[in-house]
Amino acid sequence: MGKPSDLVQGTLDLLILRTLAWEPMHGWGIANRIEQVSGNVLLVQQGSLYPALHRLEEQGWIASSWGESENKRKAKFYCLTPDGKARLETERWQWERLSGAIHLVMEQS
C-alpha cells in the first residue's frame, strides 16, 4: 500500500469489515449494503471491490466459502475471522481518531 489512494483504500477495507460484522455476505451484497446503509452517499467502485476482498482474505481477516444466494444462485460468501474482528476494532479506532481530528480542524475556523 502506501499509494496516494491510501485513504480511500483504507476506508473501503473498514467499510467491508464493518459490513461483514453483521453477517456473512457475497461481494455484490457487500457493495449494495454499503450503498443502502450510507443512504447512497458511499458508492463502492465495483471494480475495486474484488481486489480489496481478495487482499483482506490473503491477510486472513476474512474467510470465504461458496454458498447459495437469496435467488438460489451459487455465490461466494465472505465472513469475518477472529483476526478480522480485532482488525475492525483497530481500524474503527483509527477512523474515529482521524475523523475527530478533521472535525476539530474544521471547527476552528
Binding site: G27, W28, Q46, G47, P51, L53, N71, R73, A75
Partner: protein, 898 residues
C-alpha cells in the same frame, strides 16, 4: 509452522492457479448476474440492465488482473505464465533463438572461463587456514636489480628465525626438487617438494588419509625416510588405494615410506606448481646422494613462509627480519669481510610480501596480469557486441509484435505486466545462453590453463565448476539479459500505443559494433605480428632439426669416471644412429630457460665488485658446430679439449670479448671463474680463450643478450645431469622417440626428461604471447561475424520497412541501380562512422598493451588498415544482400501491401 504454511501456499498458487482463476471468474460472473437482476427489478430494460451492469463493474479482465495481483506469490505465478509464453515464442522462431543463445553462450562462456582462470591464478587466496596472515620472506641489497628480490634462505637461518622471531607465530619452508622415481623397470623425474616438518600444521591442513608430516619428522639429517603423497598423485599412481600407507617409494635409489595423503585442495605454496610428493627437508642429502645442505649456513636455497602474529604490521616484521638476516650473513659470509662486503651486508633490507595468494604473487602479477586484463577486456567486448545484436533483433521483433502488444494493452494488461513479460523473455534467452556458456566455460577453462601454464597445471583445475564459477555465469547472464532486454522492453511499452518510427538508436548501435570490431581486429593484428616476430627471432643458432633431452643419472653411487663414461657412451650411441648429423652435450640445456653464473676473473682486467658477471655453460666437443652457431674468431672445442687432463680452454661470446677486451683479439687471453664460490679456495684464471662465438639467445628466446663463457664439460666439476643436443638430417620431431630409445638403451635407469625440438621449446616459451594472439584473433573473428550479422539485420529491416517508399520511388522512375546505391550508401555511412570511432579505440589499445608487444609499434597502421578493410568488405557484402533485395522490389506488389 508459518514457513510451512507459506511453502504450501506457494505450491498451491503455482499448481492450483487454474482452479483459483476459475473461481474468480465465477465469482465475477455471479456478481454481474446479481447486478443485472437488481437492475431489471428496478425496471431497466434487459439491454440497458446488462450494459449498465458491465459498466458498473468495469473491464472484467482488468478487475480479474487487479484481484490476482493481491494473491500471495502472484509474482511467482505470473513468472510461470511468462516463462511458458516465452518458451512458446522461442519454439516459434528457432533460428533466432539458436543464434541468440549461441552468441550469448560464446560471450558468457569466454568471460566465465577467462575470469575464472584469472581469479585462480592471481586473485584466489591459498586454500589454507587464515591465508591473510601468511607472508613470504624476501630481501633486497644494494646489488639487487630494480624490481627484483632474493627469496632463498639457508636452513640454519630458518631455525634461527623460528627460535627468535617475536613478530611471527610460525615459520615454515619449502624447496622444489625433481627426484627420479622408479616404477617397475622405468624411471622418471617427478616434481616433489622438500618441506619443513611443520608446513601442514602452519597451513592448518588435515590429511585425506594417514597422517601428514610433523616437526618430529624433520629433525635429523637423513633420518626420516618418509613421504606424504599429493592427492592427485595418490589417485593417478596408486589408483586411490586406501591401503597405501606403509608402502615404499624409490626415489633416486633411496626408499621412502608413505605415511599419508595430503588433502585434495592443497597443491603447493607456489601457485601453479603441482608436486607429487612432500618430503622432510632434512632428507635433501639422502635424495641427492650427498651431505645435507640443511647444515650449511652458506647454502641459500629454501623459500620461507612466515605466519605473522595477528595484528603485527609488516614494518615490524621487516625490521626484525632485517636484523636477523644481517646478523646471520655477517656471521656466515663465505668471503673475506672487506669493506665492500660489510657495506653490502648492511644494505640488506628484508621485505616481507603478502603470500595470501601464494609465493611470488608480485612476479606472477607482472607476468600474467597485463595479458589477463587484456583478454578479459576482449571477451567483455565480445559479450557487449553479442548483447547489442540480440537487443537489435529483439527490437525488430518487438516492432513486429506491435499488434499483439496493443491487443494485450487494450484488453486490460498493465504496462508493468507487459514489460515484465518482455523482460522474462530476454531473461529466459540469457539464462539459456548462460547454461550453454557454462558448458563451454568448463572446456575452455581447461584449454586456457593448458595453453597458459602447461599440462601439469591442469591438475589444479577443479573437475566440477565451483560455486564461484556458477555464480559468475549466473551474474553475467542476468546482466546480459537485463542489458539487451531492458531497452526493447521499455520502448515496446511505448510502441504498444503509438509505433515509433525512429530507429536512429539502433543504427548507432550498429556503428558501435563496427567500432568495437575494428578495435578487436586491429588488436588481433598486433598480437599475431608479435607472435610471428617472436617465432622468427634470430637466436644466433639454427633451430631447425635440433632437439634436446635431459639425462639425469643420480649422483649417488656413481663415481666421476662412471659418469663421464656414461656421457661418452650416450654421445657415441647417438652419433652412430642413422639420421643424426651431430651430437654434443651441454650442462645448461638449449632454450631451457635456465642460467648459470659463477663470477669471472680475467687476467689483466680489474673487475669492480658488484658489476654484473657473465653467465656460463659447460659443453661437449663440437658444440657450436652442432647447434650451428657462428664462430667469429678461433675454433670450436674438439675431442682433445674435452678431457679431464687436457689443457684448460674456453670460448667466449661476442659481448664478453667486447666488454673485457674491446677491439683487441680475445684469443689466448686467460680467464677463470670468480673466487667467491668457496671460502679459502683461490681460483686462478687458467682457461685460455680459443674462440669467440657470435652472441646466442640460448636460454630464453626473447631475453636480452648476456655475456657468456663456455668450457668443455669434462674440465669442470659440476657434471650431474647433462643435456643432449642432437642435430638430425631429417625431421627432428619424428626422430625424437627413436633417439630417446637409443639413450635409454645405454642405461635404462637414467631418467630422460624434457625432450623437445627447438621449435617446441620456442613455443613453450611464448605460451603467453601465443595465448593472447590466438584468443584475440579468435574473438576478433567472432566480433566481426556478430557485427556483420547486426549490420545485415538492420539493413534488412530498413529495406522491409521502406519497401513502400521504394515502390513509390520506382513507380516514379528511379532506376534499380540508384536504389541499390541508396541502400549501399547507407550501409557505408554506418561503417564509416564505426571505423572513425574505432581507430582511436584501436590506437588506445595499442598503447595500453605496449608491454605485450614485440617488434610492433603500438600505433600500427597496417593492423588498423587491415581491420578497417575487413569490416568494410564484409559489412558491404551484408549491405549488398539487402540492397539487392531492395532493388528487386516490384513497385506494384510493394504498393499493394496494406
Amino acid at each position: 509452522m508459518r514457513l510451512w504454511k507459506r511453502v504450501r501456499m506457494a505450491w498451491y498458487s503455482l499448481t492450483g492457479r487454474e482452479n483459483r482463476d476459475q473461481e474468480l471468474s465465477e465469482e465475477l460472473s455471479a456478481h454481474l448476474e446479481m447486478e443485472f437482476e437488481a437492475r431489471m427489478a428496478k425496471g431497466e430494460s434487459m439491454d440497458s440492465a446488462r450494459r449498465n451492469a458491465r459498466l458498473a463493474l468495469g473491464n472484467m479482465t482488468g478487475v480479474a488482473e487487479a484481484t490476482r495481483g493481491n494473491w500471495s506469490f502472484s509474482l511467482l505465478t505470473d513468472l510461470g505464465q511468462d516463462m511458458s509464453f516465452a518458451y512458446r515464442l522461442m519454439r516459434k522462431s528457432p533460428v533466432f533463438t539458436l543464434a541468440a543463445v549461441a552468441s550469448l553462450a560464446l560471450g558468457i562462456g569466454a568471460n566465465t572461463a577467462i575470469f575464472s582462470v584469472f581469479r585462480m591464478t592471481l586473485l584466489d587466496p591459498l586454500a589454507v587456514h587464515a591465508p591473510e596472515d601468511l607472508y613470504q620472506l624476501a630481501f633486497r641489497t644494494m646489488e639487487s636489480r630494480p624490481d627484483s628480490y632474493t627469496a632463498s634462505f639457508s636452513y640454519p637461518l630458518i631455525q634461527v628465525i623460528a627460535k627468535e622471531a617475536t613478530t611471527l607465530s610460525a615459520v615454515t619452508c619449502s624447496a622444489s626438487r625433481q627426484p627420479s622415481y622408479r616404477a617397475g623397470s622405468n624411471s622418471r623425474l617427478i616434481p616433489a617438494e622438500l618441506v619443513c616438518g611443520n608446513l601442514f600444521d602452519v597451513l592448518g591442513l588435515k590429511p585425506a588419509l594417514g597422517r601428514l608430516l610433523t616437526a618430529e619428522d624433520n629433525i635429523k639429517a637423513g633420518g626420516h625416510p618418509v613421504v606424504v603423497l599429493a592427492h592427485h598423485f595418490w589417485r593417478s599412481e596408486f589408483g586411490g588405494d586406501p591401503d597405501v600407507m606403509g608402502k615404499t617409494l624409490e626415489l633416486n635409489r633411496n626408499k621412502f615410506t608413505v605415511i599419508g595423503v595430503a588433502p585434495p585442495t592443497y597443491f603447493s605454496m607456489s601457485k601453479g606448481n603441482t608436486p607429487a610428493l612432500f618430503l622432510p627437508i632434512v632428507m635433501d642429502g639422502t635424495l641427492q646422494g650427498g651431505p645435507s645442505d640443511t647444515n650449511t649456513r652458506q647454502s641459500w636455497w629454501i623459500r620461507v613462509m612466515l605466519r605473522r602474529k595477528p595484528g603485527v604490521p609488516a614494518d615490524a616484521m621487516n625490521a626484525e627480519m632485517t636484523a636477523l638476516l644481517q646478523r646471520d650473513w655477517e656471521f656466515s659470509d663465505r668471503e673475506e669481510l672487506n669493506d665492500y662486503r660489510k657495506k653490502l651486508i648492511s644494505s640488506t633490507a628484508a621485505s616481507v610480501m603478502s603470500a595470501e595468494r601464494g609465493f611470488d604473487t608480485v612476479r606472477r602479477e607482472r607476468l600474467y596480469g597485463k595479458a589477463f586484463q587484456l583478454l578479459i577486456g576482449v571477451v567483455a567486448v565480445v559479450l557487449l557486441i553479442a548483447c547489442i545484436n540480440i537487443a537489435n533483433l529483439l527490437l525488430a521483433r518487438a516492432t513486429a509484435r506491435q499488434r499483439e502488444i496493443s491487443t494485450r494493452l487494450a484488453i486490460g494488461a498493465s504496462r508493468w505486466r507487459l514489460v515484465r513479460q518482455l523482460l522474462t523473455e530476454s531473461m529466459a534467452l540469457a539464462l539459456l545462453g548462460g547454461a550453454a556458456g557454462l558448458l563451454l566455460a568448463i572446456g575452455l577453462e581447461r584449454v586456457l590453463v593448458f595453453e597458459a601454464f602447461g599440462r601439469s597445471a591442469l591438475l589444479s583445475v577443479p573437475e566440477v565448476p565451483t560455486p564461484r564459477v556458477l555464480l559468475t555465469t549466473l551474474g553475467l547472464s542476468i546482466v546480459a539479459g537485463l542489458g539487451f532486454g531492458l531497452a526493447p522492453a521499455l520502448t515496446a511499452d511505448r510502441q504498444g500505443i503509438r509505433a515509433s518510427h525512429r530507429i536512429t538508436g539502433r543504427k548507432l548501435m550498429v556503428s558501435f559494433q563496427v567500432a568495437l570490431s575494428v578495435l578487436l581486429l586491429s588488436g588481433a593484428g598486433l598480437f599475431l605480428q608479435t607472435l610471428e616476430n617472436l617465432r622468427r627471432i634470430d637466436s644466433g643458432f639454427r633451430r631447425e632439426n635440433l632437439l634436446t633431452m635431459s639425462i639425469a643419472p643420480e649422483a649417488g653411487g656413481r663415481s666421476r669416471e662412471a659418469l663421464l663414461g656414461y656421457y661418452r657412451n650416450v654421445t657415441e650411441a647417438l652419433r652412430e644412429t642413422p639420421g643424426v648429423s651431430g651430437v654434443s652435450l651441454s650442462s645448461i640445456g638449449m632454450l631451457a630457460g635456465s642460467q648459470w653464473g659463477s663470477g669471472i676473473q680475467v687476467a689483466g682486467v680489474v673487475i669492480p665488485p658488484g658489476e654484473p658477471t657473465p653467465l656460463r655453460n659447460a659443453v661437449g666437443s663440437g658444440f657450436f658446430t652442432v647447434i650451428g652457431a657462428k664462430l667469429l674468431e678461433g675454433r670450436d672445442f674438439g675431442e682433445v679439449d674435452n678431457r679431464p687432463d687436457a689443457a684448460k680452454v674456453a670460448i667466449v661470446n661476442e659481448s664478453f670479448a667486447r666488454k673485457y677486451f674491446g677491439k683487441e683479439s680475445a684469443l689466448g687471453r686467460k680467464i677463470g671463474r670468480g673466487a667467491q664460490l668457496r671460502p679459502g679456495l683461490k681460483d686462478e684464471p687458467i682457461h685460455s680463450i680459443i674462440g669467440v662465438v657470435k652472441d646466442l639467445k640460448d636460454s630464453r628466446i626473447n631475453e636480452a643478450v648476456e655475456m657468456y663463457w663456455y668450457v668443455p664439460y669434462e674440465q669442470q666439476e659440476r657434471i650431474e645431469g647433462m643435456n643432449v643436443n642432437v642435430r638430425t638430417s631429417g625431421d627432428a620431431t619424428q626422430m625424437m622417440a627413436l633417439l630417446r630409445a637409443r639413450v635409454a638403451q645405454v642405461d635404462p635407469y637414467v631418467p630422460i626428461s624434457r625432450e623437445s625440438t627447438m621449435a617446441m621449446a620456442v613455443e613453450d616459451q611464448i605460451r603467453q604471447e601465443r595465448l593472447v594472439a590466438r584468443l584475440s584473433a579468435f574473438f576478433a573473428g567472432v566480433a566481426l561475424l556478430l557485427a556483420v550479422v547486426g549490420l545485415y539485420g538492420v539493413m534488412a529491416y530498413t529495406v522491409e520497412r521502406r519497401s513502400k517508399e521504394i515502390g513509390i520511388r520506382m513507380a516514379l522512375g528511379e532506376t534499380r541501380g540508384s536504389i541499390l546505391w541508396r541502400v549501399l550508401r547507407e550501409t557505408l555511412i554506418y561503417i564509416c562512422i564505426g571505423a572513425i570511432a574505432g581507430v582511436p579505440m584501436a590506437l588506445g589499445l595499442g598503447f595500453a598493451a605496449e608491454k605485450l608487444l614485440y617488434g610492433v609499434k603500438p600505433a600500427d597502421w597496417v593492423s588498423i588498415g587491415i581491420a578497417v578493410m575487413m569490416i568494410s568488405t564484409f559489412g558491404l557484402m551484408a549491405g549488398l544482400v539487402s540492397a539487392r533485395r531492395a532493388a528487386s522490389i516490384e513497385p506494384m506488389s510493394a504498393l499493394r501491401i496494406e
